[in-house]
């Protein structure tokens, strides 16, 4: 049980792929212009992550060590293609707004890093759970960043106007410069919270 709990606290907080490991920043900076974009990106990456983790874990004793990275990429790109076709078929609007970023999930370093550092060493169940938790951590971070950017940069949340009409949106927040500011502040905030929790638990440990 403690293993499962650790998988989830790692994915969401202690080893959060974006906020702590700073993996997949390109996707984060590019797609977080609105909450719906961030959410769509987070969920599609999560789906790829779960499937690729499960399959790489299944194949972990079969794949020779010398060619493992290439093999992982083949597995990952297979799932990304599947997800891309599914989105094109059933969610054409998301396909439109995400554009090139869905196929680019292949090169999202979070997925390869989980394959290499977790799925290739752990059982199928744990790998699946790791996919869920890392995906959730990724989605959580994307939603936080995109919520800040959307509220300040367009005055809306999920497309609904939430700030009064007299508020004039700061356009820079939906441009790429705003993505960098926001991500930096969110990472700083996360560090502060994590170090505060660590201090507290150390005190209690004494």
């Amino acid at each position: 049980m403690s293993n499962i709990k650790k998988i989830f606290t790692d994915g969401l907080f202690d080893k959060n792929p974006i906020l702590v490991q700073l993996l997949g920043t390109c996707a984060t900076l590019a797609v977080t212009t609105s909450v719906s974009n961030g959410l769509a990106m987070g969920l599609s990456t999560t789906a790829v992550l779960i499937f690729s983790n499960v399959f790489i874990s299944l194949l972990r004793k079969f794949i020779p060590g010398e060619v493992r990275i290439a093999s992982y990429v083949v597995v990952i790109s297979g799932f990304v293609t599947a997800i891309e076709l599914l989105i094109k078929a059933f969610l054409p609007e998301i396909n439109k707004s995400q554009g090139v970023f869905i196929p680019l999930i292949v090169v999202n370093c979070i997925i390869l890093s989980r394959a290499e550092s977790f799925a290739s060493k752990n059982s199928v169940l744990y790998s699946a759970l790791d996919g869920v938790s890392m995906g959730a951590g990724f989605t959580l971070a994307l939603v936080i960043v995109s919520a800040i950017r959307e509220i300040i940069g367009s005055g809306t949340f999920l497309g609904m106007r939430i700030l009064p009409d007299s508020y004039e949106p700061a356009l820079i927040f939906i441009m790429s410069a705003g993505a960098f500011f926001t991500l930096a502040f969110v990472v700083a905030g996360m560090n502060k919270i994590l170090s505060a929790i660590k201090k507290k638990s150390q005190k209690e440990g004494k």
Binding site: E168, A170, I172, F173, A177
Partner: protein, 326 residues
């Protein structure tokens, strides 16, 4: 043992404190506020006051929160506030200087360690931030001599094209050289009067607050570049004068690019820095998407200051290549 002081480099021996230097800069800028108020109306005073007060307030509050000694006494926040106001049109809604001051003092200056440690000019960074966020407010220039009252909104003012927008489209501005020189034209509060800015710059050079290297190389590069690349149907000299006197070139070259923290220390480094600023300004003005490039040029060159200082380190007495191997 009061004689022996241990301090970090560069070891410049001078009686000046930051406060003295900053008061000189303020003196050099006061004429610009008065001229701005004469051309655009008393609203200029309100904008400048709001900008200065919020810069000082944000610097004070930020240092209070992070429990550092308050640096407000060195007057650098006052200078930042005045320069920020100089970069805004007189019609600006009054909340914009407040947001700009917060960005300059907290994000650009405070978070990187306060005065002396910021890697970019806080005022210019704030200007670019405001420009990217609220472009319509930042380019709403009022007609010269259509004076705006001390208080009240300036939004209804007739917006006027600046000379640079005209130059960009290949036309000469409909202004005499005299008007451009004394500053009887549309633009930001502090950038219009080239002659007053030059006088302020001269004062600062005489008082040895700044050296001539950056302004001369910056303005000189722009002059040479515009002579060479003047459009064939316009007289090259007229074109050059228009490029030099319109926009934020003078203000940028004399008051912004010479900021101590974000400009090189060595004379050679300063010359390279000025030439770089000039070239980038002209590249952006002529080939870029924006009509004005001074602020971007200075910000980009700010990032090279560390390399310029390292690359142009003066040779120590008795050092040099000849003796290096011995």
């Amino acid at each position: 043992m009061g004689l022996l002081k241990v301090s970090a480099s560069p070891h410049i021996r001078h009686e000046d404190t930051t406060r003295v230097l900053m008061s000189d800069v303020i003196i050099a800028m006061i004429a610009l506020v008065i001229w701005g108020a004469y051309v655009f109306g008393l609203r200029v005073i309100t904008v400048t006051a709001v900008s200065v007060i919020s810069c000082v307030a944000f610097e004070f509050l930020f240092n209070l929160i992070i429990k550092k000694p308050s640096p407000v006494g060195d007057l650098s926040a006052v200078v930042s506030g005045m320069l920020l106001a100089f970069n805004l049109p007189a019609t600006i809604p009054l909340w914009i200087p407040v947001v700009g001051a917060a960005f300059a003092m907290i994000v650009v200056k405070g978070l990187f360690g306060g005065i002396g440690k910021n890697f970019m000019n806080p005022v210019l960074a704030a200007r670019v931030f405001l420009f990217a966020s609220w472009p319509s407010h930042m380019t709403n220039y009022s007609e010269p001599l259509m004076r705006l009252p001390l208080f009240g909104e300036g939004i209804d003012a007739v917006s006027s094209a600046t000379s640079l927008t005209l130059l960009k489209s290949g036309q000469l501005p409909d202004l005499s050289v005299k008007d451009m020189l004394i500053g009887n034209m549309a633009g930001c509060i502090g950038e219009i009067s080239s002659i007053l800015i030059l006088a302020g710059g001269l004062y600062l050079i005489v008082r040895r607050v700044i050296t001539w290297h950056i302004p001369v190389s910056f303005i000189g590069t722009v002059a040479i570049f515009s002579l060479i690349f003047a459009p064939s149907e316009i007289n090259a000299l007229t074109y050059m004068t228009a490029e030099l006197l319109s926009g934020g070139l003078m203000l940028g070259a004399i008051f912004m690019a010479t900021d101590y923290v974000t400009s090189p220390v060595t004379p050679k480094g300063r010359l390279i820095y000025g030439v770089g600023c000039g070239l980038l300004t002209m590249f952006i003005r002529n080939f870029g998407g924006y009509p004005e490039g001074v602020s971007f040029a200075i910000l980009i060159m700010n990032l090279f200051v560390w390399y310029l200082d390292r690359g142009t380190k003066p040779v120590k007495f008795g050092g040099g290549k000849k003796n290096a191997k011995a």
